[in-house]
Structure formats: C-alpha cells, structure tokens
C-alpha cells in the first residue's frame, strides 16, 4: 500500500514538530516544584500567586501533604522537588540531612500553636472556654479527632501538649481521660482530613493548628502558651512533654515551620529566590494573614551552609541542634 | 365434562398491538392451526391462552374451567416453542421431571394412552429412554421434539400449544417431524393449537384453521375450505393462490356470473346468490387449475373458459414448471415437468389455456 509510508512520515513529522515547540517553550518558562506540609497550603498558594506575578515565565507547582510523607517522596520515591517546607523543623534534619544529603540547612520561618477547634454543633460548645476545656473534653460522649502520632507531627504534638497540660493544671490523669475520647476510630493520618468529619458532626472537637482554625473560620480554644508549643523561648518547658510513638519517645518542641532547598534541584536559583521571598516582608505578611506567628528575622540552622543571598534574611538559631 | 378448549371474545392489548375478539373452540383430539404472517398476533394469542398476558376481555376455558384469571403454572398447558426450548443446563431426564406431576386446579381425566406417574414409562413411550442422561445440545431435532413433548406430557396437560416449532428447520426434517408430531397428538388425544406462517403446516396438521391478520381473525374453517375458498385477497395470497385478479361483474344468469377482467370475460360458477352488476370483485384462480391445451385439441366438456395468449415466462421449479401467460392480464399456470417437456413451451409462442368455471373463486375486494 503506497499511502502507508506517506502516513507514517506525516505522523513522525508532526510529532517532531510538536516536541520541538514544547522544547522551545520549556526553555523560556521554568516550573518551581514545592513540597509542603498540609497546613501551609493556604499561605503558600497565595505566595505562589504573588511570586508568579513578580517573576514572569515562572509557574509554581505546589504539592501538600503530611510533612513526613512529603519528605519521603523526595528521599524514597526520588521525586523532583526544589523546595521542602515542613510543619516540624525536626523532619528536615531527620530525613533529609542523610546520608545521602538531600539538604544541608534549614530556616524556621513561622510558628503555630496546637489547639482544639469546634463548631456550634459540637457538644458543650456553649460552655467550653480557656479555663474549663480540659474538664469538658474529658466528659463521656465527647468525640475528639486527632492525627496519627506515628506518622504526623500534629499527632504527637497534641499528645505532648496534653502531657504538658497535666503538669500545668496539676491534674493527674488529664491526658488519659481526654485521649479516651479520641480513640483509634477518630484518628487519621493528617488532621486536615478530619475537618469534614468535624463539619458533619461526626466528631465534636479536633486537635489541630491555630492557623487552620483561623483559615477555616472554626472556633478554637485559647490555650496557655506554656503548653501549646507556640513560643520558641519556652523550648525547655516543652521538652518535658513526651509522646510515646512507634518511632520512639518524642519530646515536645516549639512548633516551628522550616524550609530548605533540595540539593541538586533543577531550579536552585529560582528556589533561592522563592525562599528569599518567603523569608522577606511580603512572605511574612502572608503568613501572618493566615494565622501563623512569624520570626523577624527567621532562624537558620547550619547558617554557614546557606546560600549567600539568603544569609542576610536569617539569624542563627539560638541553641538549636543541627 | 370433556369440552376441550374454548376461547371466547379474547381481546388483548400489548403496547401498540391489539388482539381483537378472538374466538374458537376445540374438542379433544383436534388440532387447530392459527395461520398468519409475522406480527399478526399468533404468538400473542398463544401466550395469552398460556397465561402470560392479561386479557382485556374475554375468557379462556379448558375442560369447562375458566382459567382466565389463573397464572400459567396453574393452567395445565404444555408449551413447545421454536427449537423446542429444552433447558440447556439440565439432562433429558431432568428436563422431563422438573415440572409438577399433578396439578390441583383441574382434575385430570383417565386416559389409558397417556403415560403418567412413571418417568421410565414416559421416556419409553416417546422413544427417548436411551437419551435420559444426555444434554440437549447433543440431541438431533427429532430427539429434541420428542423430549419436549415428553416434558410437556409429564405435567398432564389438557392442552398443547405449539409456537412455530419447525421454523428454523430445513424442509426435509420439518416434514418428518410434522408427521411424527401428528401421530403422537392423535395417539394422546389432547387438543392442540399450532401456530405457524407456513400454510403447508396447516394443510398437513389442521382439523381447523384460523387466519390472523393484524390481530383479527379474517377467516376460519376447515383447511380445505381456506385453501379452496379464501375469503379475501390477503388470505388467498397467504395460502398460495398464484392468480389474484380484480374484475367487474357484467351479467348474471342461471348460476353463471360473467366477470370482466380487462377486455376478457370469464364465466364463473356462482355459489351464493347473484352479485350486483357493475360490482368490483376479486378473482382467485389456482395455478394448477389453469390448463394449457395443445393447439387443435377440442374444448373439453367442463371447460367454460378458453383464453388465448402468449407465453411470457417459463420457470422450472423442480417437479413443477410455472408458466406465466399474458392473456390481456398475467396468468400463472402450473405444469408437471414432464408435461412441460412434451409441450415444448417457449417464451413468446402463442398458447391457449382452459379454466373451468368451478375452479374460479370470487371474493370480496
């Protein structure tokens, strides 16, 4: 058949043409890939839009999930990411410093607090306040949701907070009585997947970050700073809170969000620019607007390993281990 | 009282189709054939009698019992369909024994010939004892028919219904099965209704025939009557009358009607009174009643019509030869093949035909 060879040639030419166009287009625009913790979704999406507006021909693709999961996607699944931002600053040294070294430094750029959120449908919603919360949450029939301490920072942070609360309010058994209302059935791998359960009324209270409360416009309890892991200055106190997990005993630490660039990433120059944006005044404003606490300037670990352009925006982390 | 089967003014509506006031009765041991083209309502009639459609009005009586309101499993009928409908996942013996043995609704009369109560006897009567463990896919058509009958008989039916069982079979097999079926039915003496679109089935099996068209009975009677005296052109063509023509009555005298067809006039023996003059009629002439005479032969006594014309076509059909003659209107004649050879017929040659006045049948248009 004579038309068959002709057809083949036409198809190949078209394919070459299309891929040629694609190659040219790729050279012009760059895609920045960010892996970030779920709770950073809202602020990072806003920042991506501002960043894309500032730098033309740049598109930012951000993926959100549990901090450990996102870290593992880099180390185990070898997915390409330029930036990793986590909810617990310990995740970066633990998983990425290696060997092999996927990252060599990190900067703490925002803080958060652990709290409980609820809706007007929740049991005892009209009664609960900052003084009696630990008694209300222990009442029978109250359903509390939280994330899995074995896989998610907010999970073990919740346990640590309750451990600290027991000492703070001098109520032995407080931790157990509240956890009794948060059985395995109410647990998920990340706390954000329980928000719909809260809104439907399947659970009454959800242990989650204050930033999420403000973002989702949920009521929350104002817990004392001594227990809600929000103040880096109280790190020594927080260390007394412990969570027993399948990964070992984890001790309380302030909730600091950390960011780093991934070694050998495709767009390292662009990644640096984004981190600079994040650590600068614009980024900090976005974080504040979304309910996070900020550091001015940000705290850095392994300061000497940081790119020069970023060093101006940070200060070495007082007392933090590498 | 063994009154057989009676259907009274049965009317059924199924979607857009309507079966209108079907009525007949059937005594024990007789076979009724319902004849009609596809879509005329034959299967609907059968299925209504079996109990699968609810009648709008009318009654079905079996052995004097009104079964119109009963579900099919309580009506005591045997149903045989195209390809015989044996259950493919059951053996012959399982097929036969799956149904009920005895129905509580209609009392079963004693019949010496009817083999009941004993599977082995039943299998033996129908000659399928050696097939008891076989699966239906391994049976021939004849064997399948016998198994289907045995299965139906096992339930002591008061009525047999056959829905075109031979439609998918070749002529040879069909003829053989028809004869065998006839002999079984005569032997069992159970009334049967047989539905078909093939009038040769009607001729072979029927004691009575009903012709259905679009849900209405257009003629009923003995097969020979339908065959020789169709009521209208539709029935005439359906039972294979080759010549159906339109003519006009010109005169009537002394039991003979003169009918003009084109510019020819035919003499027809009138059977039922004088038709009005100038009235348009349909004329039916069977091809075998048209005789081709050799030129020069004198008219026979009975011949009342002699027409001359030209041969338009000679078509051999195996044992018969069909000759189409143009005598002012087209006329078809049948000859036996040897006759045709003797006469040496050829297209275009002039020819004379004879048709007896008795052989022409007048019908309403």
């Amino acid at each position: 058949m004579r038309s068959a060879p002709r057809l083949c040639c036409a198809v190949l030419a078209a394919a070459a043409g299309v891929s040629g166009i694609a190659a040219v287009r790729a050279a012009n625009s760059a895609t920045l890939t960010i892996f970030a913790a779920g709770t950073l979704a809202a602020p990072f999406r806003q920042m991506s839009a501002l960043f894309e507006a500032k730098y033309n021909d740049v598109s930012v693709q951000a993926q959100f999930g549990g901090s450990v999961k996102m870290a593992r996607q880099i180390t185990d699944l070898h997915q390409d990411a330029d930036i990793l931002a986590v909810a617990d600053y310990n995740v970066i040294p633990k998983y990425l410093f290696g060997p092999p070294a996927y990252a060599t430094w990190y900067a703490g750029f925002a803080r958060n607090a652990i709290t409980f959120v609820y809706t007007e449908k929740s049991k005892y919603a009209d009664e609960i306040n900052a003084a009696n919360w630990y008694k209300v949450l222990a009442r029978p029939g109250v359903e509390i949701g939280r994330s899995n301490p074995d896989t998610d920072p907010s999970g073990y942070q919740t346990v640590q907070m309750l451990n600290l609360a027991e000492a703070y309010y001098k109520q032995p058994g407080l931790e157990q009585s509240i956890l009794a209302n948060a059985p395995l059935a109410n647990m998920r791998d990340t706390e954000t997947s329980l928000i719909s359960a809260l809104q439907i009324g399947q659970i009454d209270y959800l242990a989650i970050y204050r930033s999420d409360a403000l973002q989702h416009r949920l009521k929350f309890i104002d817990l004392p700073a001594a227990i809600d892991l929000s103040d880096p200055a109280q790190a020594a106190t927080y260390k007394r809170g412990v969570a027993h997990t399948k990964n070992g005993d984890l001790f309380g630490a302030p909730i600091v969000y950390a960011v780093t660039t991934v070694n050998g990433a495709k767009n390292s120059g662009l990644a640096e620019k984004f981190v600079a944006f994040l650590l600068g005044s614009q980024g900090q404003t976005v974080m504040k607007d979304n309910g996070f606490g900020t550091f001015s300037p940000a705290y850095a670990v392994r300061f000497e390993a940081m790119p020069t352009a970023l060093k101006a925006l940070v200060t070495p982390w007082p007392g933090a281990s590498g | 009282m063994n009154t057989g089967v009676a259907v009274e003014a049965l009317t059924v509506t199924l979607g857009a189709f309507r079966l209108d006031k079907i009525a007949f009765s059937l005594s024990r041991g007789t076979i009724l054939v319902i004849l009609g083209p596809n879509g005329s309502g034959k299967s609907v009639t059968l299925e209504t009698i079996a109990g699968f459609h609810r009648a709008d009005s009318g009654r079905v009586l079996i052995d004097g019992h009104d079964v119109t309101a009963l579900p099919p499993e309580r009506r005591n009928v045997g149903f045989v369909v195209q390809n015989f409908g044996l259950f493919p996942h059951l053996s012959v013996e399982q097929n036969i024994t799956i149904g009920r043995r005895n129905n509580g609704d209609i009392p079963v009369p004693e019949q010496a010939k009817l083999p009941r109560g004993d599977t082995a006897a039943l299998l033996g009567y129908f000659g399928v004892a050696h097939l008891a463990r076989r699966m239906p896919s391994a049976l021939s058509s004849g064997e399948k028919q016998r198994v289907a009958l045995a299965r139906a008989v096992a339930g002591a039916p008061q009525l047999f219904l056959f829905d075109e069982p031979f439609s998918a079979l070749d002529t040879q097999t069909r003829a053989g099965l028809r004869d065998e079926l006839l002999s079984f039915l005569r032997d069992l003496s159970i009334p049967a209704i047989f539905v078909t679109h093939d009038y040769s089935d009607a001729m072979a099996l029927a004691d009575a025939v009903i012709v259905l068209r679009d849900g209405t009975a257009v003629q009923s009677g003995a097969p020979s009557e339908i065959f020789r005296k169709p009521a209208n052109p539709f029935v005439a063509r359906f039972v294979g009358v080759e010549n159906v023509l339109i003519g006009r009555v010109t005169e009537y005298s002394d039991g003979i009607v003169l009918v003009a067809i084109g510019d020819r006039v035919l003499r027809v023996a009138a059977r039922c009174g004088a038709p009005s003059r100038e009235r348009e009629l349909a004329v039916a002439i069977r091809a075998e009643d048209v005789s081709i005479v050799a030129t020069g032969v004198a008219a026979s006594d009975q011949a009342a019509n002699r027409l001359s014309g030209r041969i338009a076509e000679v078509r051999p059909l195996g044992a018969l030869v069909m000759v189409t003659i143009d005598c002012g209107f087209p006329l078809k004649a049948y000859l036996l093949a040897p006759q045709a050879r003797t006469l040496r017929l050829a297209g275009g040659s002039p020819v004379v035909v004879e048709i007896s006045a008795e052989a022409i049948h007048l019908m309403r248009k």
Partner: protein, 280 residues
C-alpha cells in the same frame, strides 16, 4: 512445531488473501496492553527479597490488615450480590418509565471521586446521619471506624460491577425458557432459582468477582470512614509513611499475592462450572 503452533495461533480462521494480517496487528496492540498491566506488577514483585517479605509477613499488623480487607471485600461482594442480582433481573426483564435513569444511576458510583463518595457516605452513615443515627440507636450498628464502615465504602464503589454483569447474564437467558418453565408448573420463584439463575451463573459470578476485586483495592472512600482498624491499602500507606518504600512495597506484594490467588480461584470456579455444563 513451534512455527506451526504460532501459525495456528495467529492465522486462525483467516481468509486466503493476506492471511493473519488483522490478527497480527491485534496481537501486537494487545500485547502492549498486557505488558502495561504486567510489567509494573512484575517490577514490584522483583523489588522484594525473600527476607524482606518474610519480615513484613511476620508483622501481625500487616497480616491483620490483609485479613480485614479480605473479610470486608467478601462481605461487600456478598451484600452486593444479595441486592444487586435481583435488581439486575428486574432491569433485564422489565421496562418501566425512568429505566434509562436507573441504569445510568447504577454506573454513577464509578464516576464519583472516591473521597467524595467517602464524605457522602459519612454524611449518611455517620453519627448524625439520616441512616447512621437510627441504626446506632436501634441496633447499635456504627460505621465510623468499624468493619461495617469498610464494607459500606467498598460496596459503594464496587456494586455496579455485579449489577451490570448479572444483567447481561440474565438478558442472555431466553425468556421463552422461563415461560416454558411456568407452563410446566414452576412458580416464578422456582423458575428463577432453577432455570434463570443457573443459566446466568457465569455472568453473575464474574460480576461478583469483579466487585470483590474492586472492594479489596479501595482506599479513598474507605479511609474517610475508617482509618483504624486498618484495611490493607491503608496499612500499606501507613508503612510508607513510617518506614519507607521497602516495607510498603513488601506489604503491597503480600496483598497482591493473596488477592490475585483468590481472584484467580474465583474466576476458575466460575468458568469450570459453566464449562462442565456445556458440551459444545
């Protein structure tokens, strides 16, 4: 001998002119698809060492999750059969206003994103749900964090397979056979059980097997309702989060081995029964 076997395979039933060209193309394209299915699974299996598999198999959590998935899928398939087969029969045999809508509705769960399905089920079967609340009060049946919740999520996404396959099976049974059975004295029930269902059995079994397979692999809808106790897909996910790829892949291979063997067993059962009845 190989050449003639290959020739038989490729050129079966073809016309004299250009023998087998059509079959060649079909086999070529088809083998791409078969490769697409098989190669990733083989890669997964080969990535595991014997010791790794043994370690994972020794974890009681992993074994428990696989057993839970099998149990849930089995219940899901059974319930789907109980309510789905009768629906399929009605759809095959009757016409009614809105039949097209019902048919489309049955396929709807297949198009719903699994997370959405899970949330919708939670709204209905949860603590304050329109079915969940009365069921909890009357019979103490809960769906949040229980086997019942797993089964419900599995059934939602997989029952359509049973209905569709069973319907095709019933449509293939000649209605005249059912009519004849009735005239022989069988009630509509006995007709269904002794004639229709046995003749449609292969199709029904296929549908149920597909439902089982789809159930055992469901993740997105299940995890909304039930995280603990962990079904196998959830366990594999958690292993990935806690330990990494090796352990997760190990558990995945175990689940695959168990699911596949059950699946193949069911398929063989369905076809063996159908085959023994037909003597073509």
């Amino acid at each position: 001998m190989i050449r003639s076997a290959a020739r038989n395979l490729l050129w079966r039933g073809s016309a004299p002119s250009r023998p087998g060209a059509l079959y060649l193309v079909c086999w070529f394209l088809g083998s791409i698809l078969i490769g697409f299915f098989v190669v990733p699974l083989i890669a997964l299996v080969l990535s595991q060492t014997g010791t790794n598999l043994a370690t994972v198999a020794a974890m009681p959590d992993v074994r428990a999750s696989i057993a839970l998935s099998i149990e849930g899928a089995f219940l899901s398939a059974t319930l789907a059969a109980v309510v789905g087969v009768p629906l399929a029969y009605v759809l095959a045999r009757t016409n009614f206003p809105g039949k097209a809508a019902v048919t489309a509705l049955i396929d709807l769960p297949l198009a719903v994103p699994h997370t959405v399905a899970g949330i919708a089920l939670l709204m209905v079967f949860g603590r304050h749900g329109v079915l969940g609340e009365p069921l909890q009060a009357l019979v103490g049946l809960e769906f949040w964090g229980t086997l019942a919740g797993i089964v419900v999520a599995m059934m939602f996404v997989s029952a359509p397979f049973t209905v569709n396959a069973a319907r095709i099976g019933f449509e293939a049974v000649d209605p005249r056979l059912e009519k004849i059975a009735r005239t022989l004295g069988l009630s509509p029930w006995r007709t269904f059980l002794r004639i229709t269902l046995p003749l449609a059995r292969a199709s029904v079994m296929t549908g149920v097997t597909l439902t089982y397979a789809r159930s055992i692999s469901e993740f997105g809808a299940v995890i909304i309702l039930v995280y603990f106790p962990m079904s196998a897909p959830v366990m594999i996910y958690e292993l990935f989060l806690r330990f990494g790829l090796d352990e997760a892949a190990g558990a995945a291979v175990l689940l695959l081995a168990v699911s596949l063997s059950l699946f193949l067993l069911l398929r063989m059962l369905a076809h063996a029964n159908a085959g023994s009845r037909e003597m073509r």
